[in-house]
């Protein structure tokens, strides 16, 4: 374990021992909060997010943040985070977010630094398992493939409350993407499949590496409206970014990857201990090189329901559909190159159970019945992917 991991583990262990019964720990006007989660994934077919066919414990998150109010208008904070999900993360400690926040007025505040992106209702806290009923968020909207890019933006943002029960936030800067990131590797897989579909014979699609990445810009905006009906809110978010990637297939191939428009439209209704959520996402992306261009829309939507029965027990369910290319929902583009059609979609029925042992400890169990391998691991032997499969997930979390 690297030295940074040891330091973080020691800090978290100490703070866990010192955690009081109150929800947040305070130390000399610095708010300290943290979480640790350890999970298990098992699928009966297809590897999903990790080597789940064999059962995998490579599924954990750990984080700690520090926030302080320096004056009535100025606040600063940062969060350190590490995760492991199959080949992603490997518990490398990252600076998750860090910024200064100055609130000029209720209508206008300014944030500068490394900011969380708004994308749907749950992106900003997607890594904190304790904040929701389910273990896995609908992956068609909260994509693990593009997670690094969709988590933070380095730049500045403005936010505030407007008349008419409207909240807004906007940001501009650059995303984070490295050559060995999961997103870069997935883009490489997209390109390899594209070369096969386009019969680009002079390129050996069995090889390929990501040599270099360059983030050019990112813009992000979010709006939320609290309707006159108590408990009903609507939200929308938009994201756009551009990345240059240099690929290696025995020779260098420059690629321009652009998300022209990533929009999520959300509705949430809370009545008593019940929450109903609906979200619809369109990700309009484009990439091109060597005279060909791929221009596709990734569509995903889901409806979810959760209910808290008591202090201890919460039940949730959702049904999600995802189509990585909305113009080919039947999988024709996979069939022509001898791959299964069901790589073109994923339909996921999920049922989740959450036990709050106390205010700090949470245990969850979850089952998924999935039709389609659109989001399953397609990197190894995609011709062997199975259309119908199940996924079991279990997780224990501690937060303070």
């Amino acid at each position: 374990m690297g030295s940074m991991k040891k330091i973080l583990a020691f800090i978290l262990s100490t703070l866990c021992l010192l955690a009081a019964e109150s929800v947040w720990a305070e130390m000399n006007d610095v708010n300290i909060n943290g979480f640790v989660s350890q999970g298990f994934l098992k699928s009966d077919n297809n590897n999903y997010l990790c080597k789940s066919e064999d059962g995998s414990f490579e599924f954990n998150e750990i984080g700690i943040n520090f926030t302080t109010q320096l004056s009535s208008s100025l606040r600063m904070g940062c969060q350190f985070f590490a995760r492991d999900l199959g080949d992603v993360g490997n518990d490398d400690v990252l600076l998750d977010w860090a910024f200064a926040d100055y609130r000029f007025h209720n209508m206008v505040g300014l944030r500068v630094g490394k900011l969380k992106l708004t994308h749907g209702l749950y992106n900003e806290t997607r890594d904190v398992d304790a904040l929701r009923t389910s273990i896995l968020l609908p992956r068609g909207i909260y994509m693990e493939d593009m997670r690094e890019v969709f988590m933070t933006i380095k730049g500045f943002g403005v936010y505030g409350e407007l008349p008419g029960e409207i909240s807004y936030q906007m940001g501009y800067g650059i995303p984070e993407i490295s050559e060995d990131s999961y997103m870069a590797q997935r883009i490489l897989e997209f390109v390899q499949l594209s070369f096969q579909r386009e019969n680009v014979d002079f390129i050996n699609t069995d090889i390929g590496t990501v040599l270099e990445t360059q983030a050019n810009y990112m813009s992000n905006a979010g709006l939320q409206w609290d309707s006159p009906l108590e408990g009903l809110r609507f939200a929308t978010s938009f994201i756009s970014f551009d990345i240059d990637i240099l690929l290696g297939f025995g020779f260098e191939i420059p690629l321009d990857f652009k998300v022209k428009q990533g929009a999520v439209f959300s509705g949430e209704y809370t009545f008593g201990d019940t929450i109903v959520t609906v979200e619809y996402s369109v990700l309009d992306y484009k990439y091109g090189t060597l005279g060909f261009c791929v221009d596709e829309k990734w569509i995903s939507y889901y409806v979810g329901l959760s209910h808290r029965f008591s202090k201890l027990f919460e039940l949730g369910a959702y049904y999600a559909e995802t189509y990585p290319d909305h113009s080919d929902k039947n999988g024709d583009r996979f069939a022509v190159i001898g791959l299964p059609r069901h790589m073109a979609w994923e339909k996921d029925s999920c049922l989740s159970f959450r036990y709050d042992i106390n205010s700090h400890w949470i245990v969850k169990l979850e089952g998924h019945i999935i039709d389609g391998s659109g989001i399953a691991d397609q990197s190894e032997h995609p011709e062997d992917l199975v259309r119908h499969f199940s996924l079991f997930a279990a997780k224990a979390s501690f937060r303070f």
Binding site: W24, E124, V128, L365
Partner: protein, 146 residues
Amino acid sequence: MKEIEIRYFLILFISLGFLFSFQADALSADVLIIANKNTPVSSINKRELRKIFLGKIVQWNNGAPIHFAILENSDVHRRFLRTYILKSKSQYDNWWHRMLFAGKGYPPKKFETPEALIKYLAETDGAIGYCDENTFSENIKIIEVK
């Protein structure tokens, strides 16, 4: 693990969950919204009150900072949340955890007793909180909720 085994396990889990289900949550008696005597408002609408306790607005109309306080783990806290914030205690706790883990907002001041909360409100300009009608003090003022 076979699909049928997963289903049996989940059914067992649900059944065990129902053994511990259903907790009555009585809502009764009035909750008073109270504030420091120098607070620049004598009335407030429900939506503004909700925004204050959710950390969405941080300044009074005259630009003075808002300080808000809660009584943790009390029946009046639950009644206040249900009546004015339209959230259960777990939903409210979750809200503030989301704010903190996303780097937004600063949580409310927390007190264990009404006397400690009222003392804080009396001594802090721009501070707002709540109590039940049996613990009201002359050192603070009542804010009418429209």
